[in-house]
């Protein structure tokens, strides 16, 4: 069951590459592997926490105000996370500080709350939060790896190929779109081939 769930989060329902959720933060932070990893784990934390809480209180939330309620809960966890990062990992704060508030408007988190947590029990919601967060992290690592390598000839701040002239465009937003589009294209092609 765990293997099946992992496969669902990372491959068959990958939030970025298949469901196309949370593209904004993905584009903003996938300029280097370090940023991508930090953002992925931060999002996973918020997603898992908000999924559990929303799943627990789903019965008491009136249909009409459910979205504001979800947003308040998500924003609370983001604020808490931001304080914790500031207090315990100042290095991460200086690198990711301005991107952390972006998690509030990460539609992957609201999307999972609406589509999954509000319909399932807390344990399943927690698992969903973890596997989806993991899928988000894996996708960010793929995108940021490609972008950091092509855009600055580095991986984890270390040089890769001697004499390779990096293409700065890949660090910038247009490059981000290209990379996401190409990775999605490859995945779609592979799936179609498998289906046919």
């Amino acid at each position: 069951m765990i293997a099946k769930e992992l496969k669902r989060g990372i491959i068959t329902e990958n939030p970025i590459l298949i469901l196309a959720l949370g593209l904004c933060p993905a584009l903003a932070v996938s300029t280097s592997v370090k940023n991508g990893l930090g953002m992925g784990l931060a999002s996973m934390f918020v997603l898992a926490c908000s999924n559990v809480i929303i799943s627990i209180i789903k019965a008491w939330i009136p249909e009409k105000v459910r979205i504001p309620c979800y947003i308040v809960i998500i924003a609370t966890f983001v604020s808490i996370l931001q304080l914790l990062i500031k207090a315990y990992t100042p290095a991460l704060d200086s690198q990711l500080g301005i991107f952390i508030p972006l998690i509030v408007v990460n539609c992957m988190i609201l999307g999972r709350a609406e589509a999954y947590a509000s319909k399932n029990n807390p344990v399943h919601a927690l698992i969903d939060g973890f596997v989806m967060g993991l899928g988000f992290t894996v996708a960010l690592l793929i995108l940021s790896g490609i972008r950091e390598f092509l855009g600055s000839n580095k991986l984890l701040d270390l040089l890769v190929i001697p004499g390779f002239q990096p293409m700065t465009a890949f660090i910038l937003a247009p490059g981000g779109f290209f990379v996401i589009a190409l990775v999605m294209g490859v995945i779609n092609y592979a799936q179609r081939k498998k289906g046919a």
Binding site: V29, T31, S32, N35, I57, W60, I61, P62, K64, V65, P68, C69, V72, I73, A75, T76, S79, I80, L83, L84, K86, A87, Y88, P90, I98, G151, S152, K154, L155, L156, D157, L158, L159, V160, P162, T168, I171, L172
Partner: protein, 256 residues
């Protein structure tokens, strides 16, 4: 009607609990965050001053142009001889203000520069902090190869009293040979980060706009001043004392 009350009540309760949760976490972390910020400031001071100086935090009570908070370094060997000042300066970058700390000697030469806060584009302007390591990914061992943040390094030794020139014809500083680097220093010039002219200009402009004025007001750059002279000259009050390595007792003198 009953519906509205129920909706309002639900939102109120959820917001109240959320507020309470953030309040508790804030309460638990605020001391730690303040300590981290203090630590960051100390580290910044250590980078902008040379080793072996005693750093004293000063509060400017006079009106003038000097910022409310600045730092003075005393040469450790003589203890009364002024080694330089450090100021926090803001320049207008590509995405908001770039806050940095700059240490200047009494002759107006820059001792060191470090970036405190910026929102520059990742991969472009954010390279102000780049350490141009020449290490390759397949040599993971070996640790430090001595590379320094080149962008900040190139300011060291330049004069803040003359305009700092931006040399657009040369590539980035760390890729140049030593002779070209020395030439740049002689011309009081720096190189830009490729694709981030505005970021580079933020530093040169802010230094040009502020530092000379500060030094003139503090009156320190014409001649080496003693601590007594500074105290007589300015209505200054030292609020905290940071001793680097020698725990001498005359620190109390500054707290008078």
């Amino acid at each position: 009607m009953g519906d509205i009350i129920k909706l309002t009540l639900t939102l109120t309760i959820i917001s109240a609990i959320a507020g309470l949760a953030i309040g508790v976490v804030n309460d638990k972390t605020k001391d730690k965050i303040a300590a981290q910020q203090e630590q960051a400031r100390l580290e910044a001071l250590e980078t902008v001053f040379p080793e072996g100086v005693r750093i004293v935090e000063m509060k400017n009570l006079g009106a003038g142009v000097v910022p409310d908070l600045y730092w003075i370094a005393f040469d450790d060997s003589a203890d009364t001889v002024l080694a330089g000042y450090a100021f926090e300066v803001s320049g207008i970058g590509y995405a908001g203000d770039i806050k940095f700390m700059v240490g200047v000697g009494i002759d107006g030469n820059i001792l060191g520069l470090t970036v405190l806060d910026h929102n520059e584009t990742p991969g472009l302007g954010s390279r102000v902090n780049e350490i141009a390591s020449a290490k390759y990914i397949w040599y993971p061992v070996g640790g430090d190869d001595g590379a320094k943040p080149w962008f900040k390094e190139q300011f060291v030794g330049l004069s803040s009293l003359k305009p700092i020139i931006i040399d657009r014809n040369l590539a980035e500083w760390h890729k140049l040979d030593e002779r070209t680097q020395a030439n740049l220093r002689n011309n009081n010039a720096v190189t830009i980060i490729t694709g981030s002219t505005i970021t580079t200009e933020a530093f040169t402009r802010a230094i040009g706009q502020h530092i000379a004025g500060y030094l003139e007001e503090l009156g320190g750059y014409c001649c080496p001043a003693t601590r007594k002279e500074i105290e007589a000259k300015k209505a200054v009050e030292a609020v905290a004392v940071e001793t680097n390595d020698n725990e001498d007792n005359d620190t109390a003198l500054l707290l008078d």
